[in-house]
């Protein structure tokens, strides 16, 4: 007869010395575990609750400006730093880790309307309502040897004066050109004191401008005549224009999908477009209750942050209709500019109350060095929470966010108004000949026309 019985030798299954790790054996057979789904559900519930316990997104405020902050710029080569420009002409470079000003760049006479940094991190371009464009040298070497003086002031490398006040500036991603927006769109070179090229389509001021991260010659602008215009530098004439019902305050290109851009509109929504097909928005992101002032994408291309006139900062998913997160503080007034940090972990908001605020992108994230086991645990809890987040108990906890009362009431009011409008539309449809009234999807509704 052939017989074998299970016999385990202790050495194979236990550790040899006390400094060894304990041995772990896995058997994934489902019959060894009973009621897996219920256990997962309980873990999801606990994970949701823990998430809320650890959700402390506000890190700190950077205080120093004496007037409201209108624009910010990130240096792509230097993770810790951020430039901010305010309404009294004060440009500061902040160190986010210590939340202090490293360097000041005085010079502008009026409000600083736009800030941008060249891709190699050497030049900071600022434009203002005093019709000047100033270039500053901000290479690493320059900043690294900042002495013990707390505010270092620097002298501009170049000052170019032009005809009209400027509203925005952006630097090309892969070249030497930068573009300013004002009465018309001007393309400048670092070394020339006059614009190399000028674009003009329509009679209204351009209020924001953005270069495409993938295609260095394409840029998008938005103007006061409620339009979004796409330009191609190689073509010397504007490419396409889409006119909406309300003005777009800011545009941001998706760094991972450079053909898509998202426009922050005055009607409290953000519209994501595919630049090749402007007749219809790809997605409408609705959640703000007042005009959206600024928008910035995360370097992962999966999320973007918006700051709005209703004193809140919201984080949306790139394809999500509603925000995943909302940040607000009693002290934070109208948010005029937001930036997503280059390591996708932080969000910086500049607001009317002269402060820059630093927030975590994921409110319950553990900062600092996370051990591999901790990271695995966090990932597992996130995954199990996402699996059950549609169930009522878990959903209630995951969705819950405290809103400031004015925002809550305004949101309710908007909801009733939209509902009323929808009901009226439905009744109109019911009382007319079938097919005579066609409802347009929201993605199309806000676009008036597209112009070549």
């Amino acid at each position: 007869m052939k017989v074998k019985v299970i016999s385990r030798s202790t050495d194979e299954f236990t550790r040899e010395r006390s400094q060894d790790l304990q041995r772990v054996f896995r058997n994934f057979d489902p019959t060894l575990r009973s009621q897996e789904k219920a256990v997962e559900y309980v873990r999801a519930l606990n994970a949701a609750k823990l998430d809320k316990i650890f959700a402390r997104p506000f890190i700190g405020a950077m205080d120093g400006h004496r007037d409201s902050i209108k624009c910010m710029a990130k240096n792509p080569n230097y993770l810790k730093a951020i430039f901010s420009g305010s309404d009294d002409g004060d440009i500061r470079l902040w160190d986010m880790a210590s939340r202090r000003t490293v360097c000041q760049f005085p010079g502008h006479q009026g409000a600083v309307q736009g800030l941008t940094v060249s891709t190699d991190g050497s030049i900071l371009v600022s434009c203002g309502s005093d019709c000047t464009v100033r270039l500053w040298n901000v290479s690493d070497a320059n900043l690294a040897d900042s002495d013990n003086l707390s505010d270092n002031s620097a002298k501009p490398q170049a000052v170019y004066v032009w005809k009209n006040a400027f509203r925005a500036v952006d630097h090309q991603w892969d070249g030497d050109l930068f573009a300013t927006a004002g009465a018309q769109v001007d393309i400048w070179n670092h070394n020339r004191s006059q614009p190399v090229n000028t674009f003009d389509w329509g009679s209204d001021t351009t209020i924001s401008i953005r270069f495409n991260p993938g295609e260095p010659n394409i840029l998008a602008t938005s103007a006061n005549d409620r339009s979004i215009t796409l330009y191609d530098l190689r073509m010397s004439s504007p490419a396409r224009k889409v006119i909406m019902r309300t003005k777009t305050n800011s545009i941001a290109w998706n760094p991972m999908e450079p053909m898509n851009f998202t426009a922050a509109n005055e009607d409290c929504n953000c519209y994501s477009y595919d630049a090749r097909k402007l007749e219809e928005a790809k997605c409408v992101h609705k959640d703000h209750v007042s005009a959206v002032m600024d928008i910035d994408f995360s370097p992962t291309g999966r999320e973007f942050v918006t700051g709005s006139y209703d004193r809140t900062v919201r984080i949306f998913q790139y394809n999500g209709g509603h925000s995943r997160e909302i940040y607000h503080t009693k002290r934070m007034q109208r948010v005029f500019c937001v930036k997503y940090s280059c390591d996708a972990s932080y969000v910086i908001s500049g607001s009317d109350d002269t402060n820059l605020r630093l927030w975590k992108a994921k409110a319950s994230e553990q900062l600092g060095v996370v051990l591999p086991r901790e990271r695995k645990k966090h990932e597992y809890l996130e995954a199990v929470k996402n699996r059950y987040k549609h169930l009522p108990e878990v959903k209630r906890i995951v969705r819950h966010r405290h809103l400031p009362k004015p925002v809550y009431k305004a949101a309710n009011l908007r909801r009733t108004m939209i509902e009323a409008e929808r009901r009226k539309e439905q009744r109109r449809k019911a009382h007319s000949a079938p097919g005579s009234i066609v409802t347009e999807p929201v993605r199309k509704r806000r676009i008036i026309k597209e112009v070549e």
Partner: protein, 567 residues
């Protein structure tokens, strides 16, 4: 007061020559000899072999998939459809990886017993097995004879490392099975009817004469559970931390041992019973009654989930297969029935007497009666049980309880003269998962596991017949309209209760008979009113339905102008 322990261990082992049979490389599954005649194996060609292995992998993958893939045809939302498709793909990949791991990476192989030539497996005695096996395993075969302390019951911890033995005359002992060390023994000087381990080896509950008590590993009495009363059987639900007990009066109680809260207290209404088992798959408690019915209970309902008539006479024992689909019951009429719990049908009836039944992790069924134990196994996986091994003990040893030891090929037998342990190759799961149950647990690991299992403690509402329903959508049940008879019966019942109400006896001339009569009439009218209103409502709706003639259907926008024709 401690009684001296007589470790009169009569050893069946013989010191075997150190011949360890080496594994043959292509034995991946449990190999058992086939039924009555050992068939000669046909020569297998290469192609067929490959097909066999493919089928094997498919089987394994199916096991890890845990059900069918979702049907994404009906999903209209494109985003959701894309996300679900990615998810389903991931599930498929992980199931394949798990199947591969099972085939190649698991450290231990299962046990087996194969008869050669004309010998049959059920003729093989324990002594001959002990001769063939290694020393460590043969040490696990023994009889502990303790004749004066009554029939013994056993319980193992979930990792199979520790055993609690309780003699009817009050002897409680905790033994470490790895080292065969006696950790603690106490004499409680009372009848002990059952013993059950709680979540780990530190706590066990003993059902004593008047109430169950919870003890520490040191033998200190921690709790006296007075509410349970004189308990006959105890069972512990692992995932929910619930101690279930059935007492002399047929009352089933569930108590949460973490906070001491009594979750449920139900009168079964079917009299005294001492047959109780927990289904490890879904956590329902099954009781076998003297009328031959088996009832299944959950802590949140006072009516049983299922009531099934299993045997013409009293049910003598009950056992659940770890996969949750099979249940074995035995009755006094010398029959063991194997039930499929999904359809509640008998799969097989075996002519075998059994006073106690137990399923092993690999699906072997042990049936004990008198001093004879029979092990039944299904060889082809088709749930067709047949005799695998037998063991007869010395005459006079009445088997009280058989219990397979988890993760080992060992069967523990509690009998009237003590307890024994015999080897049953192929009964235990060879590969344990450290996160589920670790026989080589250190105290640090035990503490961690306790904390984690407390965090994952399931609320009692999750106990249901089909545990995979958690997280799914509950389809709204269409409520059946009560028939006219039912409504009338309800009305009569309401009127009866109204008639039976006692009125306050008023004094000082306020208790006139006329007033009493009017009050009584008012109460009856009040009871009748809701039913009459319901009737009039129904009449109106039926009238309205009759009125709308499909020929004169107006377009939707003009419907509000349609005049109701007066009949």
């Amino acid at each position: 007061m401690k009684f001296p322990m007589k470790w009169a261990v009569s050893l069946h082992r013989q010191f075997a020559a150190s011949i360890l049979k080496f594994q043959q490389p292509n034995f991946t599954r449990l190999r058992l000899s086939r039924g009555l005649s050992s068939k000669a194996k046909p020569p297998v060609t290469m192609g067929a072999k490959k097909e066999n292995s493919d089928d094997e992998m498919d089987e394994k993958v199916k096991k890890y998939l845990r059900g069918d893939a979702a049907n994404l045809e009906g999903v209209k939302d494109k985003k959701l459809k894309g996300q679900l498709a990615v998810r389903e793909d991931l599930y498929g990949k992980s199931a394949k990886t798990a199947a591969k791991i099972e085939k190649w990476l698991l450290p231990s192989e299962g046990g087996y017993l194969e008869a050669e030539g004309i010998e049959k497996t059920w003729r093989i005695k324990q002594e001959s097995i002990a001769r063939e096996v290694d020393i460590l395993s043969s040490r696990n075969q023994y009889d502990i004879v303790l004749p004066e302390l009554g029939p013994y019951t056993l319980d193992f911890t979930s990792n199979g490392r520790y055993m609690a033995a309780a003699g009817r005359k009050g002897h409680l002992a905790i033994v470490d099975m790895k080292t065969l060390n006696l950790i603690k023994e106490i004499q409680v000087r009372e009848t002990v009817r059952d013993v059950a381990y709680l979540h780990n080896e530190l706590f066990f509950a003993a059902a004593q004469k008047k109430y169950p008590y919870i003890y520490n590993r040191e033998g200190t009495e921690l709790h006296c559970l007075k509410e349970h009363g004189p308990v006959l059987r105890l069972q512990f639900l692992k995932n929910h931390f619930l101690l279930a007990s059935i007492n002399k009066f047929g009352q089933l109680r569930y108590q949460d041992v973490t906070m001491g809260e009594m979750i449920g207290n139900f009168r079964t209404g079917l009299g005294r019973t001492d047959v109780m088992q927990v289904n490890p798959f879904n956590g329902v408690v099954a009781l076998g009654h003297s009328s031959g019915t088996v009832t299944m209970w959950k802590p949140t309902s006072s009516v049983p989930l299922v009531k099934m008539l299993c045997h013409p006479g009293p049910v003598s024992s009950l056992a659940f297969h770890p996969n949750g689909h099979l249940m074995a019951t035995s009755g006094r009429e010398n029959k063991i029935k194997i039930w499929d719990l999904r359809k509640f049908e008998v799969i097989q009836t075996l002519p075998c007497h059994a006073k106690t039944l137990n399923f092993s992790q690999k699906g072997l069924l042990a049936a004990g009666t008198g001093s004879f134990i029979q092990i039944l196994a299904d060889f082809s996986g088709s749930q067709n049980y047949s005799s695998y091994m037998t063991h007869s003990m010395a005459k006079g040893y009445q088997v009280g309880k058989v219990l397979f030891r988890p993760y080992e090929d060992i069967l523990g037998i509690g009998h009237s003269m003590g307890w024994s342990s015999i080897l049953i190759p192929g009964s235990g799961e060879p590969n344990f998962d450290s996160w589920v149950a670790n026989p080589f647990e250190t105290s640090k690991q035990r503490r961690e596991k306790e904390v984690h299992s407390l965090l994952d403690k399931l609320p009692p509402e999750t106990i249901m017949l089909d545990p995979t329903k958690v997280g799914t959508v509950r389809v709204p049940q269409k409520k059946e309209k009560p028939t006219k008879k039912d409504i009338e019966a309800e009305m009569e019942a309401a009127i009866e209760t109204a008639k039976g109400t006692e009125f306050k006896k008023k004094t000082k001339g306020r208790n006139k008979p006329s007033k009493r009569a009017t009050k009584r009439r008012e109460m009856i009218d009040k009871a009748k009113r809701p039913f009459l209103e319901q009737q009039t409502q129904e009449r109106e709706t039926s009238r309205k339905k009759q009125k709308t003639n499909p020929e004169t259907e107006m377009p939707k926008s003009l419907q509000r102008f349609v005049r109701q024709k007066a009949t």
